[in-house]
Amino acid sequence: MSIFSLAVTVLIGVLFFVAFFHFSNFLLDYFRIKSKKKFALENSLRVVIFIGPAFIVLFVFIIYPVFETIRLSFYDKLGENFVGLYNYAWAIKDPDFKRSIINNLGWLIVVPTLSTFFGLVIANLADRVWWGSIAKSIIFMPMAISFVGAGVIWKFMYDYRGPGDQQIGLLNAIAVALGFEPQAWLTIPIWNNFFLMAIMIWIQTGLALVIFSAALRTIPKETLDAARIDGASELKIFWKIIIPYLEQTILVIWTIITLLVLKVFDIIYAMTNGQWQTEVLANLMYDWMFRGGGDTGRGSVLAFCILIGVIPILAWNLYKHRQDQKV
């Protein structure tokens, strides 16, 4: 499509919603002026107009699909016949599924831990040097890039050429310079998972860094100064004062990154597509959505597994929300 027709499509799409809100409210105002009796009805109509579109979208795209996916997980390939726990039984026996669960657990442990740790360390270091804000900008930059873009960047880093050839991937060039054999990093089972995790850590450290930077400023300076006067080393201050002070923030960042890692798809799909034992749930699910014409039953089971992973966080969020509402 040409630029022009794309622009027109976009404009129509957006104006449709503006027009909906404007005209429905305009109509309501018009009728209100004509008949002053229906005041109660006017209020409820207004509520309907305000929440209607969002509620429909919420229902169609989130609420209904959650229940439908759970229902489909008990149905066959095409979602037509009830098969009980058959899909779940399949999953438990499937080697790819087992691999995915193990890998996802690995991701869940490594990525949030290292991102949070690096973020915290860098936030501390950046606060002490005059070029700290430039450093923060640079480390934060990967946050803006897509996972696929990051995938290309790192695939280039991990590029492999035979032992005799010039290495054009930085990692192999370093390996060769240090006297090691070049490696096809992404095809070494078990270890390749860590090379993929490195990409996610590279991206998410920036997030942790920004949030920690903001939080660090809330630590009272007197506390730190007092510790310094008492002769505490910088390392001791870090472990004994800063970390306990930032406990809440660490928890928040941990949760955010955990949520992201549970759904990790793009990186795996772009880099290895689950080969060489790097399969994860989200990629396996995508695979089953289309493999052999698609299997909605198995796909739904896999999606449901991801949901189970977020349920503790969901419950915690709701609990906190209720606490906030009470105050």
Partner: protein, 379 residues
Amino acid sequence: MKKFTLTSIFSQLLLLIFVIAWIAPTFGLFISSLRDKDVLAISGWWTSFTTTEVNEIYRTKGKDAQIKEGEYYYIKSNLFRENKGKEIFRFGVTSKNIDEYEVGETALFKDGTEITVSENGDYIWKSQNEFKKKKGKRVFVSAKSPPSFTLDNYKEVLFKEGLGQAFLNTFAVALPATLIPLIICSFFAYALTWMKFYGRDILLATIIASLVVPLQMSLIPILTIYNDFGALFGVAAKSFPGIWMAHTGFGLASTTFLLWNFLKSLPQEMMEAAKVDGATHYDTFIKIVVPLSVPAFASIFILQFLWVWNDLLVGLVFLDKHPSEIILTAKLKELLGSRGENWEILTTSAFVSMAVPLFIFFSLQRYFIRGLVAGSIKG
């Protein structure tokens, strides 16, 4: 005092190592996208700043270029089609011995003809008999290549590989997929904050819960709905409006939540004053709430826009892979499969796909960070 300086130096060094480790991958990609594709395939990007030695093969011109001077036939030309400042220092005429001769020396071909190659690639090929072959002979050269950068790769991917169209498509997806949720969620958030109606608390709790529901839960049912819808009305199941609404759905909870958080902080007295003055909720919304919410809108806009721009999964599921619909990330993934060894295409394409996010990042970093810190809880 001495201890402090030592710590300071140590901090600077450690931070420097982090910064270098973080920037090197992106920087390498960027430099590579500006390099000549032949050089890119055989040498690391870090070598591109210094003069490097390269071994190359060229072919001389054929019989059409010959001239006769005295008894001899000559072909005089330059090996390089366009010289980018390369300097030849050795050359050869057989593949077994590619650097047999010093530059300026005269080499002997098997058929008895002689060739002299000079530093800048000029050569004189001399023969007693008339040249008969249309094709020239191969000459192997070892040359010093100075740093050189080019925009050729960008021309290639934007116009030949179809990345230009994918770029437009991504805009056509991302703009409405950002504006539509912003519009409908601002009304929704207003209602959740300032209107009283039955079920408001449950709705709010649903939003909080939806924040973390993985979008994988929605893919299969929505794809089914779209397919049924398409079949029923005889329209394409995969379309731009379809993906706008999908992104609206997936961004709805976080957009609403962020706006609700912001609107809560507005003073209640102001709303009540407007009500006393006889303003309807719609008036209040347009005339008071929207102008006050501009900074919040900016943050949320950037956040959602980048999210949609960088998304791969939703684009793969709800859009066709046809050139008129494919988005940048999907195109990039496709190239990774089909052009896996053509690093000039991959690095350049990746950089094109990153251009808009990076521009937003550097120009609107403040809003971006504010939005991200507030809204990183997206499901």
